[in-house]
Amino acid sequence: MRSIVYYLREFFRPEWVRKFFFAKTAPLVAPSYFKDYPSLTEKECTGCLTCMMICPAPGAIAVLHKKDGWEPEIYPGHCIRCGLCVEACPEGVLSSGRILDVTRRDKTAFSSWYRLQVDDTLCMRCGNCCVSCPVNREIDPQLAGTGTSASDEVIMRIEGGRVTILHEEKCTGCKTCENNCPNRAIRVARMVEGVHLEEAEA
């Protein structure tokens, strides 16, 4: 009995009755602060591939070489909308939600560097890693065309019967080599640290 009274009281509250008859559901819109898929801003992409390296989802972002320069492209079926690429981009090419404003306000940034490792016992020296590496392709177009490189500026090269890593510091950590190695011989380690910018830098 007590509970029936409770329920009657509950359901004849003015607030509830008002809601029952006049409530409207929210329209199908996303709030402005929603981190949607990153969109391009006016800024020019330099092709540093930082966004590709920090992306945690496989195949979600690629920086493509278009006719008028570089341009990052998001693949919606892969992107998990974490917004890390937006935050990591040093040029502010991408924008999503209010990440750019917030990072500028908080003076936060990511500092990152990469390590490359090749397991010689697994490696077939097929050269897939060297040829697929976007940085290598940029530095030495001949490499992409013929599979060999005479340049000493590339990140890695088949030299002396094994994959030799010449310039680890040039690696942008995109993991293209790792994904295209059939034997999992090459591994890229991404070292990322979340930091605050110094006052002078900011």
């Binding site: 509950e10 929603f34 981190k35 605050h196």
Partner: protein, 234 residues
């Protein structure tokens, strides 16, 4: 359904802080990604009041409504010994009077004055009520956190190094343990996850359901142990 509406309010706050509802991508080694603005904090506090009010009403419905309270009282009883023997964790264990909450040992929670919610009945009603009471407790904890949140940098930097760590945290469903082994560059080599639902579902199957006489009560008993199917289907 109305509880889900309350959940929307919570998710709104989460979204305002991190920019997305579920996959927040908020924490990074050594800190978090975005700072909590004063106006966001104020909005959050205002919403907390709303959530608390709604939850009080819902709790009242559960406690006094005959449809729920009477149907769940004394059903699916699991006493303290059984709960301990079945290694139950989280609210399922706490409803049977087991002292089992990793937050008791966590320094931050200690500072916030955390106390464990415990009930001794061990039936479906107790398990539901423990969860309700934990919501109020969490609301209080969040308020205390927002009050005592210090200013300053939100990122301390920090890297994953080689090593092996096993850490248990208190997830909504109970104790969640991760054992991770990383190599020298912080890449995960080996990972083992122990989810709370594994023990709770076992306990549900072996001790709670044993005394249930009506088939309709099986469902409610099963749900009251709060099983996460995705956690078990790994």
């Amino acid at each position: 359904m109305y509880l889900l509406n309350t959940r929307e309010t919570v998710l709104d706050n989460l979204e305002r802080l991190t920019g997305s509802r579920i996959n927040t991508a908020y924490m990074i080694p050594g800190g978090v990604r975005f700072d909590l603005l004063p106006e966001d904090a104020a909005a959050m506090l205002a919403d907390l009041v709303k959530v608390e009010g709604e939850m009080r009403r819902h709790t009242g419905m559960f406690e006094t409504g005959p449809l729920i309270a009477l149907r769940s009282k004394g059903i699916g009883v699991m006493d303290r010994e059984e709960a301990i023997r079945a290694h139950t964790v989280g609210p399922t264990a706490r409803a049977s009077g087991v002292v089992c909450d990793l937050r008791l040992r966590h320094p931050t929670y200690r500072e916030l004055g955390f106390t464990q919610v415990t009930r001794t009945e061990g039936d479906n009603f107790a398990r539901i009520m423990v969860r309700f009471q934990e919501v109020f407790q969490s609301i209080d904890l969040i308020r205390k956190c927002i009050d005592s949140l210090p200013d300053g940098p939100i990122r301390g930097g920090g890297l994953c190094k080689a090593g092996e760590v096993s850490y248990g945290g208190e997830a909504p469903r109970g104790e969640l343990t991760y054992s991770i082994k990383t190599d020298e560059y912080g890449r995960v080599v080996d990972i083992a996850i122990r989810t709370p639902s594994i023990m709770n579902i076992e306990a549900c199957a072996h001790s709670m359901i044993r005394d249930v006489t009506s088939i309709a009560d099986v469902t409610s008993t099963f749900i009251s142990s709060d099983p996460c199917i995705a956690c078990n289907e790994r």
